[in-house]
Symmetry: D2
Amino acid sequence: MPVTLDDLVQRLRDFAAARDWEQFHTPKNLVMALSGEVGELTALFQWLTPEESARALEDPALSAEVHDELADVTLYLLRLADVLGVDLLTAAAAKIDRNEQRFPAG
Amino acid sequence: MPVTLDDLVQRLRDFAAARDWEQFHTPKNLVMALSGEVGELTALFQWLTPEESARALEDPALSAEVHDELADVTLYLLRLADVLGVDLLTAAAAKIDRNEQRFPAG
Amino acid sequence: MPVTLDDLVQRLRDFAAARDWEQFHTPKNLVMALSGEVGELTALFQWLTPEESARALEDPALSAEVHDELADVTLYLLRLADVLGVDLLTAAAAKIDRNEQRFPAG
Amino acid sequence: MPVTLDDLVQRLRDFAAARDWEQFHTPKNLVMALSGEVGELTALFQWLTPEESARALEDPALSAEVHDELADVTLYLLRLADVLGVDLLTAAAAKIDRNEQRFPAG
């Protein structure tokens, strides 16, 4: 069965509860954790040209690191939204709606 | 019908194509855009105590800003993963598996 | 007379004290403020090619924004180091020493 | 003799030239490097309470890491400003002037 967002959110809840880490998962702390992971992702691309960045997954070692950092960013984003009580998909869809108004095509 | 991740990814593809913005959407540039949006999200929480951060959605103006920035972060993360060809949900589930090995519970 | 680092640090102390903002200037909060400003700086460069980024100061409007964001980053970095009690210049010189050992030239 | 900002800037120029790394030091790349280092600094503080963050230098291991990351942030900020041709101290002093207008004291 394919993984769903809801699965991930529930696994993150269980993971934090089982380790008594909920006390650390304030929105402020989670924003910092998200930011730190985006910093690690940024470091993977900092010396690449834009063209090289488009081929990043052709290098197996770099590809593994990119997958790992994208996973960390995703997990902290999901956990942050869950703790805040924000529905990410609905918020994101509403933002595309606004962007379509703000930047008319053609 | 509920919004799905696949819907959002497709809308972002169409949005970029309709505006001829695909040329700007290299992984390097999108990592920077993601990082910039996380910076805006961070700024919303920087002067709040951890306790205040947990109540951020009780303030309607701040809640709207948090939703907006979380949406921007989500959209750039989805677009970056799509351009790279990374399946975020699978990568994230694999990372939880590794974290469960790395940090045994109890 | 030229501006010195010590002048800036003292002005930032006076600025915070005069506004009763010292209570907000914990290292944790200042790291977030620094990170937010670096995010704004990043946003100025995100869609530029590396070549365009090298000519950023040729555009007067962009140049003003770059100066402004670099100033904000500098000010929060100085304030953070001051609050922590870190001598930035000494720490930076020691790091160049280590980098020279770690990455031998030629 | 005390270290000066100008010393550090010159050492960074020599360091890059001796390793043929000037080709990588575009403003775009250096902004990403700065952002990555701020991400590492952020990670050191992410799970600390504000009160704990104020005592970060009391822990020798954490203090060493904080010094190291603050040094990295300083070095990339100085290198970025040098490559762009921005006088950081002048820009920072001008920004304090503007902030004093924008946020009157008392």
